[in-house]
């Protein structure tokens, strides 16, 4: 398909769905209540929404849906650090029924014991998986969980009269939200760069810590797939100066049941349920985040917390030191249920099998990828990796002028894709692959074969790659208009205005 814009399909008078009629008795009794609105608060002209029949709306969106590649369709290992794994359909089915979908978050506790039990059990399971004392499932996603942890760090220091601590340390291969949330909370951000082997630099950390240090925010393994073996020393160095250590467990998939936040001495950590615990990515949310803390930080958790008195579950709003709300109500319940079901279907042994298989897949992929001309895996040469690898097409670029982005777009012509990783591109011409446990050996072999093909084309017919995609819905876009306030167009109304005045 190359489906046109929905506004272009509009035809006056068409209706997609009709709202329920107001019963005549009500209409008779109340007249026109909108007449009571002051003129300036009353809508004068209906919104210029498109007008389509129901089938037209449906067809439009179903066609658009087919113009996507999700986990269910392709070998989705190219969005490294995103942990694109199989989201079991049974879990979607479990949350689709009215017993969850039509639950109002303010219902009496007595009517929501089932969902509260799931929240509570899920918190306990994540506490065991991380080794932390208490878990909150309120954050809406991973970055919101990072924010929540930063807010707890701030509240913790404030509660101890140490609000002068205004620096947060992170590493460049930790997710950008660590740095950004810290800055948003008012912290000065200190970013550590890796040493020659790709390990975060302990000496740099030691030089950076001090009495202004509020916390270290760090991912491990980092987005390179390299596990920091001196992580305990990092934590100790921060603790020594009175700071807190916060573990970004976005890359936890490869270490489930292998190593935990607790043993490394962390005070706080977070998981992304849509990564490690399989909830669907949904085009970019809804997701769900989980924050784990030691008992020292527990008073600062968002409120309310889910409590269990042995017979029933209830919500504790009376938490004076809490940072308060980080989102409405209790969190993204559907994803909590999905993640709960996923863990329950695997158990301890299964989670470990997840981790081990994900790591095996990653190292297998690494071995196969490195056989392709033009690609390398910078840092820690010859070593194994954990959950993902950040590859570099630097040599291929030097040889052919073709960029990593071009290769990713050309791969789309073969039904797979990859994403060129977070900025800054410390690794030149990057591509981060993370195969997880979900894909079969045949899938990995096919993916490598496509990469080999694309790289081969870069050497033999670079123009084909540089002008890709050729079999996608559309061709290469002219992105510069997006940076110019005179041409960018975030809505149809803006687009019409700007193209009309041209």
């Amino acid at each position: 398909w190359d489906e046109s814009l929905i506004f272009e399909q509009s035809k006056p008078g068409q209706r997609g769905v009709l709202p329920p009629s107001v019963e005549p008795e009500i209409a008779d009794a109340v007249g026109d209540p909108a007449a009571a609105l002051p003129d300036e608060l009353k809508r004068a002209t209906p919104p210029a929404l498109p007008e389509l029949s129901q089938l037209e709306v449906l067809r439009h969106y179903l066609r658009l849906s087919q113009e996507n590649l999700g986990v269910d369709f392709n070998i989705d290992i190219g969005q490294g650090t995103c942990t694109m794994k199989y989201s079991p359909k049974v879990n979607d089915q479990l949350v689709a029924g009215h017993k969850l979908a039509e639950l109002h978050p303010l219902q009496d506790n007595g009517t929501v014991q089932g969902v509260l039990e799931i929240f509570s059990r899920m918190e306990e399971m994540l506490a065991e998986i991380s080794g932390m004392d208490r878990v909150s499932l309120q954050p809406g996603a991973g970055s919101a969980a990072i924010w929540t942890n930063v807010a707890m760090v701030r509240a913790y220091h404030a509660s101890r009269g140490e609000s002068h601590r205004d620096e947060i340390i992170t590493t460049v291969f930790s997710h950008p939200s660590n740095a950004a949330c810290a800055a948003t909370a008012g912290y000065k951000v200190i970013t550590l760069y890796p040493d020659a082997d790709g390990y975060p630099d302990l000496d740099a950390l030691k030089a950076a810590v001090g009495d202004r240090t509020a916390a270290l925010l760090i991912t491990n393994p980092e987005d390179t797939g390299i596990f920091n073996p001196r992580i305990e020393e990092f934590v100790a160095a921060v603790h020594e100066v009175g700071g807190l250590a916060v573990y970004d467990q976005a890359n936890a998939n490869g270490i489930l049941g292998i190593t935990r936040a607790r043993e490394a001495g962390f005070d706080l950590c977070h998981f992304n349920l849509h990564k490690t615990f399989s909830t669907p990515h949904a085009c970019g949310g809804p997701a769900a985040g989980a924050c784990g803390v030691t008992s020292a930080l527990e008073p600062f958790l968002p409120k309310p917390t889910v409590e269990h008195d042995g017979t029933r579950y209830w919500l504790d709003h009376d938490r004076p030191l809490s940072i308060g709300k980080v989102r409405p109500f209790l969190g993204v319940a559907a994803n909590v249920v999905r993640a709960y079901a996923w863990i329950m279907s695997l158990g301890a042994e299964g989670l470990r099998e997840v981790a081990e298989t994900a790591v095996l897949n990653n190292n297998y992929l690494l071995a196969e990828m490195l056989k392709i001309d033009g690609v390398s895996a910078p840092y820690a040469e010859g070593k194994h990796r954990i959950e993902q690898v950040r590859y570099s097409w630097q040599k291929l670029h030097e040889d052919t002028g073709v960029h990593s982005e071009d290769l990713g777009l050309r791969a789309a012509d073969f039904g797979v894709h990859y994403w060129t990783s977070h900025h800054p591109h410390l690794v030149a011409e990057p591509a981060t692959l993370e195969p997880t446990e979900s894909y079969s050996k045949a899938d990995l072999d096919e993916y490598v074969a496509i990469m080999r093909q694309v790289a081969h084309e870069a050497y033999t017919e670079p123009e084909t790659v540089r002008t890709a995609p050729h079999r996608s819905t559309i061709h290469r876009t002219k992105h510069d208009t997006l940076e110019d306030p005179g041409t960018w167009a975030v809505t149809w109304r803006a687009y019409r205005r700007k193209t009309a005045t041209e």
Partner: protein
């Protein structure tokens, strides 16, 4: 026997792959993890339910312990609403293609970009504003970010909240503004960054002074941030029409089931001015030409304001939030169209007015601000000695979920509760509530 979710755990495959890596044991891959950090015992988790039917029995059994609003007659609202969700909304957002896609490029994920851009565009028409973000987490986050945007745009340090606000939303805003902006004080002064207005207010009232607050803000050189319920905009004037600078809110009413609070997504909208656009932390999808005449492509507008682009140099931060709900709200708006939104808004006001009049006539019960226009929510005050807790318990016994108790948060209203009536309620439902309330407070 490999688990159905882990194909390569099959022993022979495993051995073959291991050989290809040059490792002799899975343990080799973990060589970097010091022994004393290794967990040398199995995790202490419940026994797995590997059979799918067993899993369904367990999880489904837990969920079955809930009583949903599909089973009881519920008048709960207060930020989460049970509006009708057209079947096409569910159909689209349960499609594997949307449900399992993520961060692909605008080529192989062209449909996702287009659907999101169309959402932005339809919201733009509803709000009469040119810039609408890819959804943030929820309306709370949208409000908090809108205020911080106002702070950055004006360079000022204080905001005033002009209308009654959800205490939970206030809690979120307080935490999020901490250190950057102070909240409260006079509606005056040249330090004022923004006036914040809920439209309608938390108590369901369409405050006649809404537009006046906007003018006051502008007179003071501040911005007007208006949080509105998008489902009401078929009848209510869009805030932009009376000058609001930043409009925000939650799109949960536009096609999302309540989901125990999991259906939220926040919108932020502004005029198309660079000083506004450059302060959005969210992604903003834009439409672009391609190398082929007549084709539309999509991409990120002004990427280098985002934390994904420039880390801590970006505006606040952005991550995975609630994209699928944006796509769904787009489907909802496309289905409803201009007439549907108008009819829905009018129908809400009619039902609400009817409910207010039926309940207001009960002795011992008063409607707060009964004379002011309401859209779908209103506060009920019990004046005859009954507490909300007692009333709600009695309603519960009768299969009705009464309104949210406001007594603790709004002591000035006495024993009062916030009731919500939507297009899902029939006259019979409302009459039943009124009859039961009359019986209870008698």
């Amino acid at each position: 026997m490999p688990h159905p979710y882990i194909p390569n755990a099959e022993p022979q495959v495993k051995a073959e792959m291991l050989a290809a890596t040059g490792a002799t044991d899975i343990e080799d891959f973990y060589a970097d993890i010091p022994e004393h950090l290794r967990l040398r015992r199995p995790l202490d988790l419940p026994e797995p339910l590997r059979g799918e039917a067993d899993l369904v029995r367990h999880v489904g059994g837990l969920l079955d312990r809930n009583t949903s609003t599909a089973e009881a007659l519920s008048f709960l609202g207060a930020g989460c609403y049970r509006h009708y969700v057209p079947a096409v909304c569910d159909e689209v957002n349960s499609r594997s293609e949307f449900l399992t896609a993520y961060a692909g490029e605008p080529y192989e994920d062209h449909g996702r970009f287009q659907a999101m851009w169309e959402y932005q565009s339809m919201m733009g028409e509803l709000l009469e504003m040119d810039v609408v973000n890819v959804p943030t987490y929820d309306g709370f986050q949208a409000a908090a970010t809108a205020l911080r945007m106002a702070g950055r745009i004006t360079g000022r340090g204080r905001v005033v909240i002009a209308t009654p606000i959800d205490p939970d939303k206030l809690s979120k805003i307080e935490d999020y503004l901490d250190g950057a902006l102070t909240i409260g004080g006079e509606l005056d002064g040249d330090d004022l960054a923004a006036v914040f207005v809920d439209y309608p207010s938390y108590l369901g009232v369409v405050d006649r002074k809404t537009a006046e607050y906007v003018r006051t803000a502008h007179d003071l050189g501040a911005l007007a941030v208006v949080a509105c319920d998008p489902v009401a905009l078929g009848v209510l004037a869009p805030p932009a029409s009376f000058g609001a600078d930043i409009v925000c809110g939650d799109i949960q009413p536009l096609g999302m089931h309540p989901q125990y609070g999991g259906g939220h997504a926040g919108f932020i909208a502004t005029r198309d001015e660079e000083r506004f656009v450059m302060e959005f932390p969210s992604r903003l999808f834009g439409i672009v030409p391609t190398t082929v005449e007549g084709e539309y492509g999509f991409g990120d507008v002004a990427w280098d304001r985002t934390s994904l682009g420039v880390r801590e140099q970006g505006r606040e931060w952005v991550g995975t939030a609630a994209a699928l709900w944006g796509i769904t709200a787009g489907v909802y708006l496309a289905l409803m169209g201009p007439q549907g939104m108008r009819e829905l808004g009018e129908g809400l006001m009619s039902r609400c007015a009817y409910a207010m009049s039926r309940i207001g006539e009960i002795p011992g019960v008063e409607i707060v601000d009964a004379a002011l226009p309401h859209i779908k929510e209103f506060a009920v005050r019990f004046t005859g000695g009954a507490t909300v807790a007692m009333v709600n318990a009695a309603l519960h016994e009768r299969g009705i979920f009464g309104g949210k108790d406001l007594s603790a948060d709004f002591p000035e209203l006495g024993q009062s509760a916030l009731y919500c009536v939507t297009e899902m309620h029939t006259k019979a439902d409302i009459d039943r509530l009124a009859a039961e309330l009359k019986e209870i407070v008698k």
